[in-house]
Amino acid sequence: MSNLSSTKNTIEKILRPLDRLSANPNARRVTYAVALIFFVSMILIPPIIGVVLKWNLIGDTLQNPILVARAESAILASFAIASIVSILDLIAGLPTAWFIVRRKAKWINVVDTLADIPFVIPTVALGFSILVFWSQPQGISGLLRIESLISPGLGLIMLLHFAFSYPIIVRIMVGELQSYDQVYEIAGRTLGASSLTAARTITLPILKPALVSAFLLAFCRSLSETGATAVVAGAFENGPIFIRNALSSVPPQQGPMVLVSLVLIVTSCAIFAFISILGPRLRFPVKKVWPNFEKRLSNPKSTLGRDGLALIVFAIFVAIPSLFVALPGIIAFTDGTVVAAFTGAGVWGVYWGSLLTSYVVALAATLMNLLVGFPMAVIITRRKFGTQVTALLNALISIPITIPSVALGVSLSLFWTAFGNLPELWTLILVHTTITYTYFVQAMAAAIESVPEELESVARTLGAHPFETFRKILIPLTKYSIFSGAIMVLTRSVDETGATTAVLAATSQIKTAPVLLVNWIRNPASVGGQSVVGLGVLFLVLTTFISLLVIRLVLRRER
């Protein structure tokens, strides 16, 4: 006990000079300026500048009409898939979120947990799971005694994107519906509106900002997905797969790669800005009320039918296909593959190495985020540079998640090669920092926002210096969020495939686990068959699952 106390005192003594230094307004300005400069120079500019630097390579590509037509259809396919899937997700996910929040039964917690499964499973593994379920004999095709119910291609990509975007919609809408004050809806009901009318004319318009951001996130996620899409794409090409194919050809086709990356970056940013600005002004198209018809649709039978349909869609298209990831892994436990895996024999040595690389990169990216992301979150939530700059920063900070990750990877790779000629591993860490930065800063900003500024003001008037206030008030009150934010960054980084593919050359000695697994899934024979692939995927799922379990435990403790 006294050891602990003396350690605390020693730490206090070390930190005292920093506390005193923070009282100097210039020192504070420098700290925030460093965070801002890091954001602009390392996060914001490189993804945009990278492809612009190689602008000259596009000329030759534009001379090739076949290549241009291929690129054009790939880009259009990307946007079409993202738009259709996001709308379908909204239609299917909203009733499920409603059902989870409004129905009172313990078993609904199971639905709530199952809805998170596509979140828990790394996208490469999810792609593998969906491939097995819809296309391979171990899945539904075997049950129907046909070779492949849905072959790899556009259909399977749509099913995959629907499955991984679905939890985004459900999670956001569940959160919003839980914090929504039902008093408005009750007021509407007492004024004669049926439950459907009240939901349609009162609740949904109030929750419009959440609906817009849920749609946007699902849209960006779909546009960005590369690794899992590669698993289920077959010969079909969307934007990210086009870039991936250009990268993996020998020698890499830089011109087409830069062209498609540039178009994806510019278009996705424009669409994001367009929806962000116009979304909140969007009015719900149907204002008319059909009292009798809507009353009939609000009766218990109709409600039961709606909930049942939502659950069936969820089970068939999301939950069951996602859970199929476990099946090949379980088979591997019975046929002895697991022994080879743990002894590191054959391909398993490379696999464990790649998993280690994934975690080293993820840890480094997490650390970088902790150092520079936290001050940025403080800048945004406490409006250190004024309201207008804060609004601008808030918008700019979303850019890295708006840009498709493979295009981001191409651009960052070109940028860091041109400017730093950094080793691949360092470039990879910087790329992963960029990709995860938005998630971390937004999570931290939400956590800091929940701490009333008055607490810091009072601490200051009681004699605490700014840094002392930061470490004695802000850090203890946000420590669980910091921890869970860090694990979220770690998980996202381990899961990352698109940008990683763009950074690591086909001949590179460095491989992360998802990148390696994409190759394994596309060519299972090269590694010894489906059970090796299944087990490899299962190990990746387990490591991610443990990380997310830790988040849940931490957040439960916080509550």
Binding site: A23, S457, R460, L462
Partner: protein, 368 residues
């Protein structure tokens, strides 16, 4: 204890001018109440003194020393926000010991000091409780203990009773004042509750739209409101518009709408000037309809409101003006009824006379 002085202090947020050329001198050990409606700049004023925001213009001095550039932790103050801002991750004792600790007092010593202060607010038995385990009143006392234990000489209280229920508010306002006085602190207490200000303040500063309307003792503010706004905001007042018809050495005659004439004990106006008369409701009497004494106007009872210790009778006068009289319950002999014919009367000495302004009466007394 510091003497606080604000000279020509201004603060704007964008186009909104929250504090405008503000002057105030607060004596050592004084308990000042800043009274004003929502949006009048009270909290901004407090945050300026606390150093949580910087003035755009003007000087703030403590004991003659300019503190404009001093950070909050260097000002030797304790800020007490409306929701108390007790640190949720620290228990009661740690909350109270926070101030001494950050000011360099050794941990054990800080705890001893904190316990002593907790005894004075009778919460030493709850030293290990966390803020969420305490009632609103207890939280308020912990916040007060934290402020007292910090050793601060200047206490800044931002609506300190605002989050409490009515009964507790009444009890705790005396408690705060006595604790502050016994510790010999200077206190600036912000409130929009005129009754609270009247009871606790040594002096009241009435604030409106970032400007001082009047500074004075509660008695002075009540007895001699400097502006129509103060007359309306402090106390309950009837307003009548009229024109000075004649002036002599003892008073003036004012003609109201429809030719009614009333006497006032005011000689500084000239004949023909347009004025507004302000009469406290409790100094307005309800008389029988045939009463023909001084300043009697006949009318009909429009509404009667029972207030517990008194009743308020709203009367529509024959000239269509609405006037209210507040009568202590002990003086109510016959309970008036709606549509009763009555007369309203007031003494010339009880009438405040103000010049009319171009903005008009409604704008002058507007509370927003």
């Amino acid at each position: 204890m510091p003497e606080v002085r604000l000279s020509e202090v201004s603060k704007s947020f964008g186009r909104i001018e929250a504090i405008h050329h503000f002057d105030l001198e607060i004596k050592s050990g004084e308990y000042i109440c800043v009274l004003g409606p929502t949006g009048s700049g009270k909290t901004t004023l407090l945050r300026l003194i606390a150093g949580l925001i910087c003035p755009d213009d003007g000087k703030i001095t403590f004991d003659g020393k300019l503190v404009n550039d001093l950070s909050p932790e260097e000002r030797d103050i304790a800020y007490f926000p409306q929701q108390y801002a007790l640190f949720p991750h620290l228990n009661v004792l740690e909350n109270v010991a926070f101030g001494p600790k950050t000011r360099g007092v050794a941990y054990e010593e800080a705890k001893t000091q904190a316990l002593k202060v907790l005894e004075t607010v009778k919460l030493d038995q709850r030293a290990n409780a966390f803020p969420r385990e305490l009632s609103g009143g207890m939280q308020q006392r912990v916040a007060l203990a934290r402020a007292l234990a910090s050793g601060a000489k200047l206490l800044l209280l931002d609506e300190p009773l605002g989050a409490l229920d009515a009964r507790l508010r009444v009890e705790l306002r005396y408690h705060i004042k006595s604790l502050v006085k016994s510790a010999g602190l200077t206190a600036i207490h912000v409130t929009h509750d005129q009754r609270e200000a009247m009871i606790v303040a040594d002096r009241i500063v009435v604030l409106r739209m970032g400007k001082v309307e009047q500074v004075g003792t509660p008695y002075h503010i009540y007895q001699s409101p400097a502006t129509l706004f103060v007359a309306n905001f402090v106390g309950e007042t009837n307003f009548l518009e009229g024109t000075i018809k004649s002036v002599n050495s003892v008073g003036a005659l004012v003609e109201l709408q429809d030719g009614f004439r009333v006497k006032v004990q005011e000689t500084s106006y000239l004949s023909g000037e347009e004025v507004v008369l302000a009469i406290r409701q409790e100094l307005t009497s309800l008389m029988p309809v045939d009463y023909d004494g001084e300043n009697a106007i006949q009318g009909e009872v429009k509404a009667v409101r029972f207030l517990g210790d008194s009743i308020r009778v709203e009367v529509i006068l024959v000239n269509n003006l609405l006037i209210s009289a507040r009568i202590p319950i002990s003086q109510v002999k016959i309970y008036p009824k709606v549509k009763d014919k009555v007369a309203i009367s007031f003494k010339p000495a009880d009438v405040f006379v103000f010049c009319t302004t171009a903005r008009g009466l409604a704008k002058e007394i507007e509370v927003i």
